[in-house]
Subunit: 266 residues, 6 copies
């Protein structure tokens, strides 16, 4: 099925875009139905660009809290399109760039895409591309303006382009009055159920025995998230996986993991 | 009639201005009387510039919410004038330009127009040309000042110029105290009746059968926009057409379209 | 008489200053006594500069709402002086200039004037020269400072200079604490009586018949400006003349003109 | 006597400083005892610099409302010192200078002064040198800092320097916390009595007859400044002299002058 | 044991990083159990980077009040890792660098680290690297953005990197919404018990006799920190050691030290 | 004794630092015990740097109101150290320097000091070095950051450095959260007793006779500072000495001095 196909993209499809591969190298864990829905929505967008004559340009926004998996999901959708032009635009590749340099780079990438009949560009972490800082606030308005205009600029006749932008701070886009730049948006949620955690920890084989695993789950249930003053369970999959690795170094991984989760939540 | 003539402009009149053509390539749907009125107002302005000796310069502002069709309408009026000089000034063509570069470009376009006996310049999306951002607010005051002065600068003796500016944020012009730069203004409204939606969807042939179409209309009526807490129906024609194309990919386009509209309104 | 002489300046006096001519090309309509008073005040200033040994420098400010006729009146006074050096400094001639360039230009014009025994400089639209924007507010302080210092700098021995500055926003000069830079000021008022409108419309021959003209005046009287919630009649002569030209294109100019005026007032 | 000597400075003393001469070319009118006091204070400062071994540097501030005569008085004191180095630093000579250029100029003037055993520098109109604008407020902090440091920098051994700075806005110096840069200050007041006006108008011979002069004085007394809602009489000598010259052009100078004064006061 | 090993790092391990050595040259005094815990946490992070395949990048934040020993502790952990690449990034080495230069330097150091299989970078005193100033506030947003992106940028395949950042102002990181850049954090506390002071003073041999030492401790107890209006005892180890050296010059070191501590606390 | 030695430093010790000499050329008057205390504290700091192995860097702040004698006292302490490297860093020597130039200069001076085994640097008038202006406030954050880092940067092994910084505005350092950059601080108070004034005036021999001196003191006592609405006596020694020189020019020095003091206090 499609879901399966997506998961095998990484191995099966020989796209040269190394950066995109690298952001999904820890894979996608299907810890809840929502993950399937997101990938499905992504595949519909891919089809719209491929098929509709009236919308040669579609621009979608993946948004969700820090570490919820936006980058990995956007990259997975992009790779699964098998479009001839697939590109990741990320702040990591522009460290130390001035505003003009960043805009020139963005401009070039979009111009390159116009040469391919079908293209997908992942514009990762908008708030970092804009150098967003809530103190002030400070940010690069010129990078924002360039992005907004590029997001709305039709490719030349016969060219089609899917843009997948991500952000962990959608509200700044609303405050900047540029939400209308996106045709649609896809929310990405953090993990909020013990079942999803269970699923993830099994997948990464944190514990040596089922007994140990069950003990950890029992402790989690006893933490009574969301009850009597304790915060709701809410953790990005990226943070969860990082906690798991830290716990792995500890003599008592179960205890370490649960206490990290409790500390995180409060 | 004039309306008809306008619609055929695109095909019949061989103006070389490719950009103008491109922004109207999806055509104008006459979904309400207001569309005719706007095109009619536009043609009166064209005649004023052509005929009055005392007003060789007329500057009008088309304003309306995001996606309401301002750019397509301004371009249509401009193309219909059949003036020898027709030009679209848009943010898309100035991505990454600094302030000075933008002003130089604007200056050049206006200077070029002064060489033609009759000219029309569409200055599209003022708020983007100004890099407007409500946070701060930030914007390019120097581009604004250049525009305001150019909007009021008489062409040399014997030259006549119509300026059609568009914006989705007229209030910033008021706040900047530059509304007096425009001789007149033309409001462009979003779609706000089920009849207009009906008209549009028929035109783009979203549904395969009349039955399907009627089912969608029925669902829309049942959504009871504007009643019992649901927001008023209010959607730009651009967004509506984009929703229609997304819905087209869906197994159940009628349901998909209506739910998009409901989500948009709330 | 002097008034008459002023009106004929344009035709009779061969000053090469084309720009000055262009701003008065629609002529001065003597729609109220106030117009005569303004021109008279202007001629007194001209005489003061010509005659008084103690005040080789006089700087006056014409101020009034947008389109009230400041530029045309200042230009008329300047041209009527018949001084050997007459110059218009306007934002139109400095589009795209940076601050330093503007100041250099101003400096040059003033320096040039010092070479002539008698000079008059019209510095038009101070708020635009300063790039004034009430959001912020933003403006060029360095251009302001240069202007204020130039306005107060005595010409060298034996040289005399009249400066006529205009602005539609006198209050910003007060806020900037530079009102003391002007020796005197001349207020220019918008049209506020139906009689003045009557005078103007006759002069520009908007209507084909007296009957039509009278119908329009009747409609204006019925609009009852300033009564029962309707705003006071208040329109710049520039706007009025522009409305007249628009109305001229309309099948029913009288109705069109009156509705424009009503819309303007509210 | 000293007062007399001061008045004759201009004619008798051949200092080459043309600028200083030009700012006092309308002379000093001894319209009140306060004028003598100011000139006397000035001569004491001159003596202190000439004589005291412990204070080779003295920095004084002349402050008073706009047009009260600060520049003319400072220049008169400076010229009367007959020091070998006398220099006027004024905004007029620095139009269009950037901050760095201004500071370089200031630096050069002060350095030059250090080469003369006895020097006096008039630094005119501090608020203009700083490009002061109350909106913001905006001003050149770097020029201010340079001035403050130069005002406090001792000349090299054996050199002595008197600095006479003027400003019409002393409060900004207080707000900037740089008042301690001045060793002393001299207030300059506007004209506030009908007797002083009487004195001035006689000196400039505004009226052709004593009768006319007396009529004007009578009208002034009847204006009842400071009574029943009318503002206090308060006018700078510079403005009064300018009003007198305007009135001179008028058929009825007495009436014109008094109405100008009344308008000024309100 | 590990603690012991850490202490001997400085002497035993021949890392060439002179700067790191210099910041720990006064050694680590084990004045409380918390010091051991911090060093232990550090060693767990080192092991995680060395061992976990899923987390080739770990970024930790040491934070605590001024002078609490953050730099010395981070350097000690880094040196104890015996990783082939160990680097200290500190504001001292970038005095006078502009923003671009700082970012280039940071970029270079991180790029260098990517060439080593195992690296640790100590990024010392974030608030100083950012030129943080609470007035405004002012800071270098571009340096911050570069740091945040570098802190989250995975090293290339097969490379592993531990980042130890320090700050005495963690709250600004929260205000800037960049706390999610750190995988974990380690609080460093100031000295808050008389026992810890006792321990430190013995170690640095401030007093010549036990009697003298005891007298000082007695005076400290009598100061009754935290009681009846006197502030809580709270002093960074760095400040305490500096006070001890000042006291050493005094005829009565005990009295001098105690009065310094009392003054510090209030 | 030490005090005496300090006073003779200027004459006896051949340090080439002319600038330092110049700031103390009016000498130090021992008008109160506090002056001795300050010089004593200074000599203890000198000894700490010379002797303690653990604190090769000591940074002290002399702070007090304008003209209280900070610069002269810091220079006196520095000269008395007889360290091989003694340097005054003052705003006077950096007039017109840009931020980068200032920082380069500071950097150079500190680097130079690292070459001498024992150094003392007087960093005079921090608020002026920072171009501090309370309006805004405006200041050079980059100069501040450079200073703070340099103040905390240990000299290389075997080098020792004493930093004596002065400011008349300590509170801005607190507001900027950089007070922890100083190991200790020395308050410098203005003169606040008639006895101190008595001492100073005798030293500078203002009056020709004891009788005259006593009359002045009597008048001062009668001014009843601090009583019935009159401000407290509070005057910097620098201002007092300047007032004395002004009074010296007056026919009645006693009266002039007392009235200056009364004016100063209110
Ligand atoms: N279902 C999943 N969805 C997303 N990521 C997953 C999922 N399962 C596992 N992962 C892994 O979790 C990590 C998610 O990190 P990712 O960088 O994509 O998050 P993010 O939301 O972009 O974070 P940030 O807010 O920092 O940009 C990746 O390593 C990815 O391989
Ligand atoms: N009656 C109509 N008026 C305007 N546009 C129409 C109409 N009917 C169909 N269209 C199509 O709808 C789209 C309107 O988009 P257009 O870019 O002109 O909107 P806009 O208001 O300029 O949007 P934006 O606020 O993003 O600038 C165009 O593709 C146009 O071809
Ligand atoms: N009595 C009049 N006074 C001034 N202008 C008149 C008069 N009668 C006719 N006009 C015409 O009206 C127009 C006035 O426009 P003008 O540009 O001078 O106004 P303005 O106040 O300078 O406008 P703005 O505020 O835009 O600078 C000119 O075309 C002028 O020829
Ligand atoms: N007693 C007087 N004191 C000063 N100026 C006098 C006096 N009598 C006559 N004048 C004349 O009045 C004018 C005063 O102008 P001046 O430029 O000195 O005033 P100002 O206070 O410096 O003005 P501004 O505030 O604009 O700088 C000069 O022309 C001077 O010759
Ligand atoms: N237990 C300890 N922890 C840390 N430092 C210690 C300890 N014992 C002694 N020291 C010494 O105390 C000093 C701590 O200074 P350090 O510069 O590390 O503090 P800091 O918190 O980084 O200060 P700042 O806030 O100024 O950056 C060092 O000289 C170190 O050698
Ligand atoms: N006891 C004293 N302490 C300090 N200065 C003294 C003393 N006695 C006399 N003086 C003289 O008083 C003057 C003090 O001026 P100084 O410039 O040192 O003050 P300051 O506090 O640095 O002033 P500012 O706030 O303007 O920087 C010097 O000329 C110095 O010679
Ligand atoms: Mg991401
Ligand atoms: Mg548009
Ligand atoms: Mg005008
Ligand atoms: Mg002046
Ligand atoms: Mg540190
Ligand atoms: Mg000082």
């Amino acid at each position: 099925d499609f879901m399966h196909a997506l998961d095998e993209v990484q191995a099966a499809f020989g796209v040269s875009e190394e950066e995109l591969q690298s952001v999904v190298q820890n894979g996608i864990i299907h810890f809840s139905q929502r993950i399937n829905d997101i990938l499905n929505d992504g595949s519909l967008l891919v089809e719209q660009v491929r098929n509709s004559a009236r919308t040669p340009l579609v621009c979608a926004l993946l948004h969700g809290s820090s570490g919820s998996g936006k980058t990995a999901l956007a990259a997975t959708i992009a790779l699964a399109s098998e479009f001839p032009f697939i590109k990741l635009v990320s702040p990591e590749s522009m460290v130390g760039f001035g505003e003009a340099q960043k805009i020139a780079q963005l401009h070039k990438i979009f111009s390159d895409s116009y040469k391919s009949p079908l293209s997908v560009i992942v514009v990762d972490s908008l708030e970092r591309l804009l150098d967003w800082n809530p103190i002030g606030p400070r940010f690069s308005n010129s990078v924002l303006q360039a992005l907004v205009v590029l997001f709305g600029k039709r490719p030349p006749k016969g060219r089609r382009l899917l843009i997948l932008a991500t952000t962990s701070n959608r509200s700044i886009l609303r405050d900047m009055d540029v939400e209308s730049a996106f045709d649609t948006d896809i929310p990405v949620s953090p993990i909020s159920s013990i079942e999803s955690i269970d699923h993830c920890l099994r997948e990464v084989r944190l514990f040596n025995s089922d007994q140990e695993h069950n003990r950890a789950m029992q402790m989690l249930r006893e933490a009574k998230f969301g009850e009597s003053g304790r915060g709701e369970l809410m953790v990005g999959v990226k943070k969860l996986l990082s906690m798991a690795e830290m716990a792995r170094q500890d003599p008592d991984p179960a205890y370490k993991l649960v206490s990290s989760l409790v500390r995180e939540v409060n």
